[in-house]
Every structure is written in structure tokens, then in C-alpha cells.
């Protein structure tokens, strides 16, 4: 286990691509943990397919980050040779799968955002990010529809499924604020027309949530205290365990290929 971590020169644009890539990779990895364990075959395929979409998005974003950085850090090195403090994903996506309701609520919160976010990013002045957005927005739309339908089924289902869905919403709520936060580097990219201001999406995101929640007979928390830290590498303990699995082959056998 002696492979050294890579060092990444995190210019604002590299960091921007890296943050979105890390979101997609970590959430994709989480969903892949359901493969072979989902409650039914169709759902096993659905979660694996969504995982595949997300990991595909991550690859394109890592490749772009690598190109912008202009060093030797390709997509594999970015995924396998950074440690927990170098990961820039949202705390939301690293939260454990928990029960099926928790997985679906996490997916719902993220997809409701990603759907709006990628659609807005199609207008980015950065042609690569705009092209990645054009694909991702369609995929996110499917993901959102899938998660919404499930949430309605769980919330408006049995007492047990309702209670679990509500508990998942209450538990994960504090991790949603980070999606709308920006720092100085991102603010400059927003001014340059490369990034979009996620704050402008919050109203519509809440509207999507409340539409689905009311159909699902679920209640959105009023609590607005939000936990942050993922974007700057301060993660929950869960990410370390995830990375130890994700990276174990490359850490044990450096440079291993198929």
C-alpha cells in the first residue's frame, strides 16, 4: 500500500470539473454497491444503469480536468490516487446507502438538482462542459423520474415504507445546502459564463421536491441548518471506507491494467 498520492494543481476550472466529477463518481460507486442486492431484478438493473451513467459522466469530467490541468494526471490517477482530503464531492453523495428509502431519497435530492444544473450548464461558454451537460441533462432527467416515482410509491405506500422515507428525508436534509454554495473561484467562473450560479436553481429545486413530497404524503423539513465541507475535502468518515474499496487494487498493485 505504498502508492503515493498525486498532487493536483487546482486552478478554479480544474477544481470546478473535479468537484462535479467526484460527485458523479462517488454517487455512482454508492449505487453500484446495490448491484446484486436490490429488492427486485428491475431495480437492480435500474440502479446499476444509473451508476453507469454517473461513472460515465465522471470519466468525461476527469478527462477534461486532466486536459485543463495539462499534467500527467489522467482519469484513472484522479480517481485512484487521491486520498480522502483531496476528494471534492458533496457530503450528500458519500452518505451510505442505508435502506432502500435512504438510497432513493439521496438520489432524489441529487437528481432533482443535477437535472436543473446540467440543463443550465448547456449554455456554458466552455464548449466541453456544455457538451458534457447536453448528455448529462438527459440522463439526469431519467434518474429524477425514476427516483420521484419511487418516492411517491414509498411515501404513499405502507406505514413502514412511509416512515422509512420520511426518516431518510429528515436524515439527509442537512446535506443538501452544499449543492447551492459557491466560493470565490467559482464566482469568477460564473462571471465568465463558464459556470452557472447554483443559487438561482434553488427555488425550482424546492418546487420539484415539494411537488413530489406532497404526492408522496411526505413532509420537507423546515430546518435550514446545513452541513458543509465536502467541496474543500472535509468529509464524513464514510468516504474513507468507500475509497479504500474503490482504490484497493491500484493501491495494492500500482499501475495494474486489465
Amino acid at each position: 500500500m505504498a502508492t503515493a498520492n498525486i498532487q493536483v494543481s487546482e486552478t478554479p476550472l480544474v477544481l470546478y470539473a473535479l468537484r462535479r466529477a467526484d460527485d458523479a463518481l462517488i454517487l455512482g460507486h454508492r449505487l453500484s454497491e446495490w448491484c446484486g442486492h436490490a429488492p427486485m431484478l428491475e431495480e437492480d438493473m435500474a440502479l446499476s444503469n444509473i451508476a453507469l451513467d454517473l461513472i460515465g459522466q465522471a470519466r468525461e469530467l476527469y478527462t477534461y480536468a486532466s486536459k485543463v490541468e495539462g499534467k500527467d494526471n489522467d482519469e484513472d490517477k484522479l480517481a485512484y490516487l487521491r486520498d480522502i482530503r483531496q476528494y471534492r464531492n458533496l457530503l450528500l453523495v458519500e452518505q451510505p446507502n442505508g435502506d432502500f428509502a435512504q438510497t432513493l431519497v439521496r438520489q432524489f435530492f441529487y437528481s432533482a438538482f443535477a437535472d436543473l444544473y446540467w440543463r443550465a450548464m448547456m449554455n456554458s461558454r466552455d464548449t466541453t462542459l456544455a457538451a458534457i451537460a447536453a448528455k448529462s441533462e438527459k440522463e439526469s432527467a431519467y434518474h429524477l423520474r425514476h427516483a420521484s416515482e419511487w418516492l411517491i410509491r414509498l411515501g404513499d405506500g405502507t406505514d413502514e415504507s412511509h416512515a422509512r422515507a420520511q426518516a431518510a428525508i429528515d436524515h439527509l436534509w442537512a446535506f443538501t445546502g452544499e449543492m447551492f454554495a459557491v466560493d470565490d473561484g467559482e464566482r469568477a467562473l460564473i462571471h465568465a459564463g463558464i459556470a452557472i450560479d447554483p443559487g438561482t436553481l434553488r427555488g425550482r429545486w424546492l418546487q420539484t421536491l415539494s411537488n413530489v413530497a406532497s404526492e408522496a404524503t411526505l413532509v420537507l423539513p423546515e430546518n435550514d441548518w446545513m452541513q458543509q465541507g465536502g467541496r474543500t475535502g472535509r468529509h464524513s468518515e464514510h468516504l474513507g471506507h468507500l475509497l479504500s474499496e474503490l482504490q484497493s487494487m491500484q493501491r495494492t498493485f500500482p499501475g495494474l491494467t486489465w
Partner: protein
Amino acid sequence: MVSVLDRDSELRRRAWDAAASVVDPEIPVLTIADLGVLRDVVFAGDHVEVAITPTYSGCPAMNMISLEIEVALERAGFRRPKVRTVLSPAWTTDWMTEEGRQKLRAYGIAPPQASSSRRALFGEQAVACPQCGSENTELLSEFGSTSCKALWRCKSCREPFDYFKCH
């Protein structure tokens, strides 16, 4: 006498045809030309370079397709072929040729509806059964055997079938 220009365009046509013959490993009735994945063939110095555009972000067939293109070009006598991935403009199912749609239908997969706008993604979907042509069909599972397909069932002839999703 053959001019240099003619010879170059003849070479390019041969390279194009070789690349265009590569099929999607998961839907082997479709070539990458049918799919609209093959974008360009250019000569750069002494080697040929093929530009393709990825379909779905996570489609595992893309790596295989790149490899198959290199093999096809080498077989056709082109040395050291290269495959380049172009992201922009992004591929959509609208780029699938009419011939490709017909091949899909004959193969038993309902082709994607034209105009993959968001309305087509979420609007009323009228997917015709590739077996009997009936539009009396229902969605069984949004996510099917590959990332590009959903699972449907015909309520007229009762056959389940794959539907190539709009993208």
C-alpha cells in the same frame, strides 16, 4: 491518370467505409454509421484518424468500438490508425439514420422516437411494438438490458420488447 486529389478522396472513402462497417457490439445489426457515431475520417501525416462521438456517458461499448475501428482500418491496410473522441456537439438518438431505425425494428427493438427534445423524453410516449406494430404498449422497466434501452410490453400481442430510449 489519377490526380493526387482523386487518390486522396479515394483513400478517405476506403478508410471511411472500413470504419463505417464496425458494428455496435451490443446491437450487432447497427453499424456505427447507422448510429451516427462516426463523425469524421482525416489523414494526419502518415496515419488516419477517425473521430467518433460517444453515445451515453457510461456506455461500455465505446471502448470496444474504438478498438474495433482500429482493427478494421488495419485490416483495410491503414497503418497506425487513431480514434479520437469528440464530445461537442453531443450525440442524440436523432442522429440515427432511417436505415438504422428500420434495422432496429426488424431486429425486434423499437427505435427511438424522433426529436429527442425534453418533451419527447417526458411527453406521451407512443412506442409501437416492433413485432405487430400495435401502439397499445406499456412500460415495464425504465432501465433495460443496456443503458440505451427500456423494457416494454405489447398489450396486443403480449410480447415483451426492448425500446431504444430517446437521448
